[in-house]
């Protein structure tokens, strides 16, 4: 490659070889911006410093240079380096967060795609698909619902009408363990309200709520058909007949 003359494009300033190397290093690290932009930024920063601050900064730099503790870089570039570092950190954080969110959305959509494929993208199976999504995630993320609406060509309001129609569906994340107390007629007659009181005492949340540590979600339900076990409490699909407060505490403690 023919050797190119190192040409400084900035007005008035000619960079020394060390300065040029430093600039190149900075540029590489920033992965963006021409030398001009980097230098402009430096000048901007310099301009913000008051005359006193400039003097003080220069004095510090002279002292550093005299003691030999700092490499001989010019003032603007030192500031530039620090600023560039800060920008790089912030940029990285933002990229991670956005990437994280994007990854989440993509994961959700691919999961929804799998469910769609299972039902052959038949729009009359909409409820069944939503059941599956709720089952997998313990709630209905918005991305999944919007994606269903688009892929099945079903209006969004219909998807949302279904999603908000049933207590079994939740638009907010639910707890890891689902606890429900049956309030059907057979259980009513055998003391379901008292059982519900005991459960809310232990869990410290009301029906429809999720515990702050996201471990438990409490709900009431209307008759899963096990009337011989009345009054009934169901935890993660396991049935318990008339547990006492002590037993409820034990069962909850066992749920990690």
């Amino acid at each position: 490659m023919a050797k190119k003359k190192t040409k400084s494009t900035f007005i008035g300033i000619k960079a020394t070889p060390e300065q040029a190397a430093l600039l190149a290093k900075l540029q590489e690290q920033l992965k963006s911006g021409t030398k001009t932009e980097v230098l402009l930024k430096g000048l901007e920063l310099l301009a913000q410093l008051s005359p006193d601050e400039t003097t003080a900064a220069l004095e510090t730099l002279s002292a550093d240079m005299a003691s030999g503790s700092q490499p001989a870089t010019s003032l603007e570039l030192a500031r530039l380096e620090a600023e560039a570092q800060q920008y790089r950190n912030v940029l990285q954080q933002t990229k991670n967060k956005t990437e994280g969110v994007m990854r989440q959305v993509i994961k959700q959509i691919s999961q929804t795609d799998k469910i769609l494929a299972h039902y052959g993208s038949d729009s009359s199976e909409l409820v069944q698909m939503i059941i599956d999504i709720q089952h997998e995630n313990h709630w209905l993320p918005k991305e999944a619902l919007v994606w269903l609406s688009q892929k099945l060509d079903v209006p969004l309001n219909q998807v949302y009408q279904i999603a908000t129609f049933y207590k079994a569906f939740s638009l907010v994340p639910k707890g890891k363990h689902s606890v429900s107390v049956c309030m059907g007629s057979a259980c009513q007659v055998r003391g379901a309200p008292a059982l519900l009181d005991r459960v809310t005492e232990v869990l410290k949340i009301a029906p429809g709520e999720t515990s702050p540590d996201m471990r438990f979600s409490l709900d009431t339900e209307n008759c899963p058909g096990c009337c011989a076990l009345a009054p009934l409490m169901v935890v993660d699909g396991i049935y318990y007949c008339n547990p006492s407060a002590k037993e409820i505490k034990q069962i909850m403690a066992a749920c990690k």
Binding site: I131, Q188, V189, R190, N222, A228, A230, G237
Partner: protein
């Protein structure tokens, strides 16, 4: 699994299965939801292990069955052919059962059912008083069938009625027999099935649907799940026979999503039936095609209403439609659709197989056959009871149900769930009969019977039902949505001791409009709990309102004035 292409194929298969089972003992264990909650799955696993350990694997077969009816005493283990019945069995009992009963034929006394009246231990299952008064034509086979085995059903004669219908009868013949049998819908409507089938058959249109309503939203009712879990093929056979009579090409089983075990069993049953050629194209070589799809839905109470159910199958929320044009003519996708309950379908193969005369020989003048009642609440023997129509409520509660625990006094029996009604002690001699109970203001509904004793407050119970209905209302029409809500507000006030003069009259005024103007049966029958309890227990209402006191002490009155 060979594809059965004729009645002869089916008969041959049956013979093969029966001869394979000859000489073997059978151990049936109730392994449904109730049983599993009490450890029946562990009992089954322990039995399989122990039988292998003691070298009896070739002589004994363990069957994981559905509910036999006596839910209170589960896990129940029955050993055939002796019919030795052990109740409340624990895994720890298993080694003894295998070594003593299976290997040596000895009965273990402490595991036998003990009659609470006589103290006697009863060995044979059919002699237990709970079962003696029953006529278990539909539910009885649950004892002999492993939930996941189509072969067990065939061995009992299953699908022979289907062969007879498809290969020896015309669709009109089948329709005529069902009409003559006067089979009435057992899901709550009580409508003659034959007439419904006929309307669907005669409705214009090539594509027709047949649906099994397995939704079972009525609180306190659990017979449909017991039939579907314990004997899914009986329902399937009935459905196919019905589809043949109606001319339907596609069937749906509408099931709730919260019974994973039932969903699993039904799916397996459908797959097995297809493999045997009992579903799909050219069933049994008859030329009749029929496919069945399982539709899993969330299931709220209104989903059980037929038009709401069909809207749900179409993919929307279960909002009912006005029934001025019957769903038999315009149902799913505006096509003729016939919807029947699980128990209704399960009766069909029995009628076709055993004949109309057999069916009409059971029951009363207007209500033929048997009805499965789910007895629950404050009763000793909670469970499913299958009785011939015509049995009195008194027999149900005392002779079969074993009476009230702790010898408390019976206050009322609530029949038919929220759309049914209450019957006080004085009306206990009424019979299980569609018309008789309807006229008494307590329609039979799906057959749930909640027993209430002196410690239950009728006002509170009515309030509970109203709360349930307000919760389950879809909210489309004003009388149900707003009317039931306002009634609930009044009931809440009454139960908190803030009842006002004129509340009873106001409740009756709103009830009349809600009954007359609501769109669907949920709204139209929603005021039943209120009107029924006002009629029979007005004094309790008056105590709550005028004296601000709950006679049973159940309602937590805010004001403490007037307690006593």
């Amino acid at each position: 699994m060979p594809k059965l292409k004729s009645a002869a194929d089916l008969a041959k298969l049956r013979q093969e299965i029966q001869s394979q089972a000859k000489g073997k003992k059978v151990v049936s264990v109730t392994n449904g939801a109730d049983g599993r909650a009490r450890g029946s799955q562990e009992v089954v696993q322990a039995l399989v292990k122990e039988i292998e350990k003691q070298g009896l694997k070739d002589k004994v077969r363990v069957k994981s069955t559905g509910c036999h009816g006596f839910c209170e005493k589960e896990p129940i283990v029955i050993i055939f052919p002796e019919e030795i019945c052990y109740v409340e069995v624990k895994p720890a009992d298993v080694p003894e059962i295998v070594s003593a009963t299976l290997a040596q034929g000895k009965t273990i006394e402490r595991l036998l059912y003990q009659d609470p009246n006589t103290g006697k231990r009863i060995s044979k299952e059919s002699e237990i008083p709970f079962y003696k008064a029953q006529n278990r034509v539909v539910l009885g086979n649950n004892r002999f069938i492993d939930m996941e085995s189509i072969d067990d059903y065939i061995a009992l004669g299953g699908y022979s009625a289907l062969a007879k219908a498809l290969l020896e009868m015309t669709p009109e013949d089948v329709l005529t027999q069902i009409k003559e049998s006067n089979l009435k819908g057992r899901g709550g409507g009580g409508f003659p099935a034959g007439r419904k089938w006929e309307t669907t058959r005669n409705a214009p249109g090539k594509i027709k649907y047949a649906i099994v309503n397995a939704h079972e939203g009525e609180p306190g009712a659990f017979m449909d799940r017991a039939i579907l879990l314990g004997n899914p093929h009986s329902v399937l056979e009935g459905l196919i026979i019905g589809a043949y009579a109606i001319g339907a090409s596609q069937g749906y089983i509408y099931l709730r999503h919260d019974s994973p075990q039932t969903i699993d069993v039904v799916n397996k049953a459908l797959t097995q039936a297809e493999k045997y050629g009992l579903l799909g194209k050219n069933i049994l070589g008859s030329g009749f095609d029929f496919n069945v799809e399982l539709h899993r839905d969330i299931g709220i109470f209104v989903s059980g209403e037929s038009t709401a159910l069909m809207t749900s199958i179409e993919g929307s929320v279960p909002e009912p439609r006005p029934k001025y044009i019957h769903t038999s003519v315009s149902g799913i996708h505006q096509r003729p659709t016939n919807l029947n309950n699980v128990e209704t379908w399960a009766n069909v193969p029995l009628i076709i197989g055993k004949g109309v005369a057999w069916f009409t020989g059971i029951g009363t003048e207007v209500s033929k056959g048997t009805k499965i009642i789910s007895l629950a609440g404050n009763i000793n023997n909670t469970g499913l009871v299958e009785v011939p129509m015509g049995v009195t409520l008194r027999e149900l509660v005392y002779d079969i149900g074993g009476g009230i625990p702790d010898k408390k006094k019976l206050k009322a029996v609530y029949v038919g769930g929220p759309l049914g009604g209450c019957l006080p002690e004085s009306q206990l001699d009424l019979k299980v009969d569609f018309d008789e109970l309807w006229e008494a203001g307590a329609p039979i509904g799906a057959g749930s019977m909640i027993v209430m004793d002196e410690t239950n407050c009728m006002v509170n119970f009515a309030r509970y039902f109203l709360n349930f209905l307000a919760d389950e209302s879809c909210g489309k029409c004003i009388p149900c949505r707003e009317g039931v809500y306002q009634m609930l507000k009044i009931m809440n006030r009454i139960c908190q001791g803030e009842g006002r003069d004129g509340d009873i009259e106001l409740l009756e005024e709103i009830s009349a409009v809600v009954m007359d103007a609501s769109l669907c049966a949920l709204g139209q029958t929603a005021p039943n709990p209120i009107t029924g309890t006002i009629k029979h227990f007005r004094k309790e209402y008056e105590a709550h309102i005028e004296q601000k006191r709950c006679p049973t002490g159940v309602c937590q009155m805010l004001a403490t004035v007037g307690r006593g």
